[in-house]
Symmetry: C2
DNA sequence: ACCCTCTGATTAATCGTTCAATCAGAGGGT
DNA sequence: ACCCTCTGATTGAACGATTAATCAGAGGGT
């Protein structure tokens, strides 16, 4: 490995001068800077991030903790974070908390031991991470007081609910996966708040909820709003089993615009997160925090975007038929 | 931050003794080891991985490069690699190559600059990474000469093809996504080799292939074997549009057992990768390489597992009806 | 008493970089 | 001549650990 020392010897100056020339910090004449730069280039010099880290106390590495990497949405977040991070010259060290809070704590400890400059945390459902010795950016949802940035899940819920109300549905089912999840709670809260009082909405949860939702459709409900594309897909399967056509007899919506949403049949109406923006904001926040500042927009959410596809349509139920708008 | 020096001062010995006591390397009396250990415990001492890295030249960090993190299979690999890595005390630094070979090279350079001890590479479709200054483990497919470990894609193709042949199909379509992908090539090669000569199989590729496959079914084919669950899902949508019932008129298979495979309708017959084993093997290989050894099983593949669900059944086409076995 | 060996510890260098402090010398002003 | 300022460079310590080389002293053998 070629070090600053080698360059210094070659040119006949001290290592300090080389360091200054390369980083542009001290006082070095222009010719000298040019000579050093070109020699460094020739030798293929790459500064040792390790040595720099030791001296400065900054590793330039961020730790990323996710609840369970198998959630199909996380890779996109991870990818965008990784891209946003390296515009700021940060690297990303991953840790998986394997679904358990103890493991999450373990994972955090390991990252801290490696000297990360900051932590990006997507918390376990229903847990709040304890205070950390380094700056932290939490990506969760608006109702989490620790939240640094996240999608506007409630707003997204409102978008999809309003869409359903607008096209004429009057009796709907709202279907959540896991009531412990704050994200899902917020999505549902957004839906219920946005629905006009003329709409009859019932909230159901979990596996049992899926069956009950189908029964509810047979009893006259014309739409099922879910908090996840995965749930929507399962509902779709149950509907087929019950021979209920979608969207003819029932409209269906998901959440997150996962990979399969556009290619399932009917293509799923859903709400997309602006993952790029969330990632960029998270990196922005964590890096200002690391520099000791306070980010003006910390805690703000990023709007979601309604993606209307074929799984939602005007209700076709005899009791509720109405002219198209 | 509490360092080795602080402990040394507290007890009144040299830092060397503390280092020796903690790592168990030099000659230190048992009582002294005990005293140092307990003092370290009290102070909450955590060794600086950065300082250690500078001195030893080993960071204990592996770089992970993936072609495009949005592929729904990669998060599982990343998760398992991360878990396997930390049993070996390695951390994992991620980099995304955003689909382009140049970016892949860039990503590798960034990781090397951070001083990773080794690289885990899932290559871009159709590209072979150039030689690297650190040990590398490549996760790709058997036909890649650089491959270190991977699923036995050809074997997986054989499993699913044999299943289809066994239950009586005689005219099938094999549908690939992208002919550039070596993985998909291997899967298809495995399928065709495993099919008996009595079976008529046609290979088709890409978006155009999906339409042609549906036409082929209308012309009498009774099964479509795809190289990916995502493709299978798209085929499923096209079949519904064409009002072709599955699996009644046509059996359908995917690959990779993605999250939605069990919950789509009909639940998808597919081939699962043993991701845990692949990850564990990859870490094993890279760590023996880092220690300067050669791994005895490098290059071997890990068997895939056929997962039979409702999307495949005995062919029901009049021309090919036969008794159940 | 002398030499040898062994144990348990210390010394000091080193990894590659940064940075505050220092210094040599040029040039200007009086 | 003398003092002052400014520029461009150097010195040397530090970051926190590891490690080869060294050393003091205890004990054993002759």
């Amino acid at each position: 490995m070629v070090s600053i020392k080698k360059i210094a010897q070659d040119i006949g100056v001290s290592t300090a001068t080389v360091s200054n020339a390369l980083t542009g910090k001290g006082r070095v004449s222009e010719q000298m800077v040019a000579r050093i730069r070109s020699r460094a280039e020739e030798l293929g010099y790459r500064p040792s991030t390790v040595a720099r880290a030791l001296k400065t106390g900054q590793t330039g590495i961020l730790g990323l903790v996710m609840p369970d990497l198998t959630n199909p949405l996380f890779p996109r977040i991870a990818q965008m974070l990784s891209i946003a991070a390296d515009t700021r010259k940060f690297g990303i060290l991953i840790a998986d908390s394997r679904g358990s809070p103890q493991e999450q704590t373990e994972a955090l400890r390991r990252l801290l031991d490696r000297g990360v400059d900051g932590l990006l945390i997507v918390p376990q459902k229903g847990t709040t991470p304890e205070p950390m010795p380094v700056p932290v950016a939490v990506i969760n949802t608006a109702s989490d007081p620790a939240n640094s940035v996240s999608a506007d899940h409630a707003g997204g819920g409102a978008l999809v609910a309003r869409h359903i109300a607008d096209i004429g549905h009057r009796r709907v089912v709202i279907l959540g996966g896991d009531a412990v999840s704050e994200v899902q709670q917020d999505r549902i809260a957004g839906m219920t708040r946005a629905l006009p009082p003329t709409v009859d909405a019932r909230i159901m949860w979990g596996d049992a909820g899926i069956e009950r939702a189908v029964a509810e459709v047979q009893a006259g409900a014309t739409a099922i709003l879910t908090t996840s594309d995965l749930i929507a897909l399962r509902v779709r399967s149950e509907l087929m089993r019950a021979q209920i056509p979608a969207p003819d007899q029932v409209s269906l919506t998901g959440f997150d615009d996962m990979s399969f949403a556009p290619i399932m049949h009917p293509a799923l109406t859903t709400v997309a997160q602006n993952v790029d923006e969330i990632a960029a904001r998270a990196i922005d926040i964590i890096s200002t925090k690391i520099r000791g500042g306070t980010h003006p927009r910390e805690g703000e959410t990023v709007p979601m975007r309604l993606v209307v596809r074929q799984s939602t349509s005007i209700p076709n139920h005899p009791a509720q038929r109405r002219p198209s708008r």
